[in-house]
Symmetry: C2
DNA sequence: CGCGTTCTTGATCGGTGTCAACATAAGTGG
DNA sequence: CCACTTATGTTGACACCGATCAAGAACGCG
């Protein structure tokens, strides 16, 4: 996926070793967490929170197809994905379920509860997964105590907002081929960012979920995947995908879609 | 527009009288500001900021087609629209300009700078407009000093994020007819929320801007508007729109579009 | 092994983008 | 104030993408 001016990833950039509040609780240490490079809690702890154990709570396992949280659940903790994958589902105007995002290791979940203190969306595990709980009360305390922590979290929210705006603009204006290509490249780069292979990975979600996310029917997803495969751009076997010609996929995104807005640039 | 579980409006709900930091500066008082009911700065001031004048800065006039801020501008202040209207424009993957939102009196602008401290988008005035400047440094100080102010702002960001997610999901999955209907009803209710007529108002943006926003061509916008008019749902003369049959427009949004995601609800 | 779920593939049709021409308004300069 | 130019909006003809309905295939799970 080529660099995008407003496409960004959530989470901090803590690359250093972090204090390890989990070792005392019997769980495996944070230092071996695969999500460490993007762990917000770790970054927050480094930034002056005097009691990181107040922020980083326990772990929670979520089985496949189970909900991590549901609409109207009170927001007590945010969640950082430790392993596995989730989809975020919203009820649209007609009460239909629509997938609005996929989350993997290191991604932060639960921000939809910030507005009212109750979650507005549903987070569903696509496979057996595990999350770290981040006490929201503790986070608020940390933000009150440390301006650096406050800034860090505000910046994180800003990044999330920008990313949503970018995907929104993209999905509204691109044609199906481009949306699916964007999705595949996005999944690829996120896998790569976690240290896994960016050229060969497994899609944990169904074709229907993909279709709901990019705004097309499952049949079209299937057909487009078939076309990509036929063009030699990817290899596919069920949910296993291999990126065979990333350049062509990226070129696909650059084709002109719906005419852009008129530019008045004073 | 029928109530939406995750469609919300940004801004606080301060309905009470607010201290008036502007009177000392020669500008007209906040108490007569048409945007008062949704003024975040006022609400923040009420919530324990000891020095609201640190937050609420001066005013700024922006002429039609002029930019309030541009990408890479440093974020020094947020802006609350006092009069007039703005569009928010992003550069998408191909460097094309895409309209991602419209903002009118009471709406908050500049949040796209939170992520990096520099604005990522461009805010362009659709007509001669005026904004209130809200010092970001002052806002940060207020949040550090007052947990209530912190919570208020976090909630605001949460609301903005949810609204973006809602419109994103809607725009990706609905057909053109429904998107334009959504847009018109949205404009109508926002005008009404400001005390203006919700059944007769003027669109300040071009057809091209509308099309860019909802993801269709200007020709289709024109055609769809013509169809709505022919159906007796609206009256149109150039940019003047009247909502003639709101019920039919709302019904339009309830028609089933792209199939929803499969519901597994444990 | 049998059955439901998920995925693929095909035929058909409506919705929208595209290109073109034209109409009208807005802005500009004499 | 008018004539000119440009931006903006409307309308039409046509092609193509993608939804729809239907049937069949492949896998997962009991």
């Amino acid at each position: 996926m080529k660099p995008h001016p407003i496409a960004v990833v959530p989470g901090g950039q803590a690359e250093l070793a972090v204090p390890d509040p989990m070792t005392a609780q019997g769980g495996s240490a944070c230092s071996v967490c695969p999500a460490l490079p993007t762990c917000m809690a770790g970054a927050m702890g480094m930034l002056g929170c005097t009691a990181p154990e107040l922020i980083i709570g326990g772990r929670r396992k979520v089985g496949r197809h189970q909900s991590l949280y549901r609409p109207n659940d009170v927001l007590a903790t945010l969640f950082q994905v430790r392993s596995g994958q989730f989809k975020l589902v919203a009820l649209d105007l007609m009460g239909e379920q629509r997938v609005i995002g996929f989350y993997m290791a290191g991604d932060l979940l639960g921000l939809d509860g910030l507005a009212t203190g109750q979650h507005q969306l549903r987070a569903v595990a696509l496979e057996d997964s595990e999350v770290c709980e981040i006490s929201y009360a503790g986070l608020q305390a940390a933000m009150s105590a440390s301006p650096a922590a406050l800034r860090q979290f505000i910046q994180l929210l800003g990044h999330v907002s920008l990313r949503e705006a970018a995907t929104s603009a993209f999905m509204s204006n691109m044609r199906c081929e481009q949306r699916l290509g964007y999705f595949l490249l996005n999944m690829s780069s996120r896998h790569a960012a976690l240290g896994y292979s960016g050229t060969s990975f497994m899609l944990r979600m169904s074709r229907a979920d993909i279709g709901s996310y990019v705004g097309i029917t499952p049949e079209s997803v299937s057909r487009l995947i078939g076309r990509f495969k036929h063009n030699g751009w990817i290899t596919v076997q069920r949910r296993n995908v291999g990126i065979a010609d990333r350049e062509q996929l990226q070129r696909l995104l650059s084709a002109d879609p719906i005419p852009a807005a008129h530019s008045s640039v004073p």
